[in-house]
Amino acid sequence: MSDKSMIICRCEEVTYEELIETAEKHKCSARELKLRTRAGMGYCGGRTCRNMVESIPRQYLPNKEQLGLVTLKYQPPIRPVHFGDLGGDET
């Protein structure tokens, strides 16, 4: 297995190569990179790969000093919920 096929997002099995190529081609934000590749959008909510995925677009963005105040985007629920849990009865 080479570097390129190295998986970054374990949930969606998105590779390093896919991320780098997408970032290079679209010069996009981290958010767009996620939407395009599905990296960080899997079952775990990006807890493992988030930092790596966010670091990639920074390499291609001309303005690196955008680090100040941000509103982090996270979507509830932050843990997957099953219908049984909410309804109170087993499915």
Binding site: G45, P76, R79
Partner: protein, 409 residues
Amino acid sequence: MTNDVIIIGAGPAGLSAAITCAKHGMNVVVIDEYYKPGGRLLGQLYEEPDGSWWNGIKESDKLYNQAINSGVQLKLSVPVINIERQGTEWNVFTNMETLQANNLLVATGAAESPAPVPGWTLPGVMSVGAAQVMTNVQRVKPGEKGIIIGVNVLSAAIAQELKLANISVESMTLPKINSMNHDYAIPKNVVNSLLHVSHLSPSPIIKIGSNLMKYKLINKLALKFYPNKGIKMWDIPIQLKKAVTQIYGTDKVEGVTIANVDDYGQIIPKSEKSIEVDFVCISGGLYPLAELAAIAGCPFYMIEELGGYVPLHNERMETPLSGLFVAGNITGIEGAKVAAAQGTVAGLSIVNNTLNSAFEFELEEAIKQVRIIREENPIQFHPHIQNGRKKMQKYWNEYFANNQESFII
């Protein structure tokens, strides 16, 4: 029923806050998705400067007993999935029920960053923290013989813990370089960060640090004279001039390929060798786990010294959202003692806000205590933690200078 206080996270920060609030007569519920109380304190085991051992299981027991005896209600194995403000109350959604409180403390701690290497999704590859917990908490060997990828304070502490449990560790070494991992894959950068913590007394990494000092003739030369086979720490070679290029195996780890690298992390051709191991630990450091504060709408700042994006807060552990507090590693990566001291501050802050500032003095004292413990702490994850804390305070002041209103209601 509305509780006075809900605390998310039963680690040292959350439990200390709970004890403080309960002792002042407040009605407190602590929620944690883990099945035992103590958070990441549970797995910890290291030597203090005075030669005694910090035993995380015992420390967790102490906190737990104090909490229960002060009347804290603890809900374990319950994940919080969302929080939302409604009027003057916070709604806390779990997978079972929704709870309400006027004060909410988010003390969700930290998460591990990986140091990925090709093959790292094979069963048998785990984060270094996973091996720590399997060894010290579940008391099952993660494997017979392993290798640790990523050399930092956390991985060095855990290497020693594996050794204590009689688990063989082949070596600690670096991951193969890629465009995301320069901080921890380039030998020069790793040596620099190790040297920076070497003025602190005897935490494990310090031992590597002071060993390195011997080679430190001039800082730059440190690496030049660093032996290829590594310097040994508790009999484990720390190899800063090697990197794992691949983890192999068919349906589980069978071994790793390791190569020599130059000072800049570039692989030296034809130096690759394979080593048989049955488990691999990887470590890219820790970052604050702040997802719930993000959902609540808290503003965030990227502060490298604190380990990543941190929710805006002041020394009283308040956030700009009224009734929302943070404490522990969610505010920056530090050891458990600092987290506990911050928890006490958050608890007193909640008590003080509820009881018309009657505890101003105690609160000031508790804040001083955090600073003292921070200075004395043998385990420091970032050498410039104090700078990080100062930056956060500056951001807080600026935020309130720009936003005329006080708290966001």
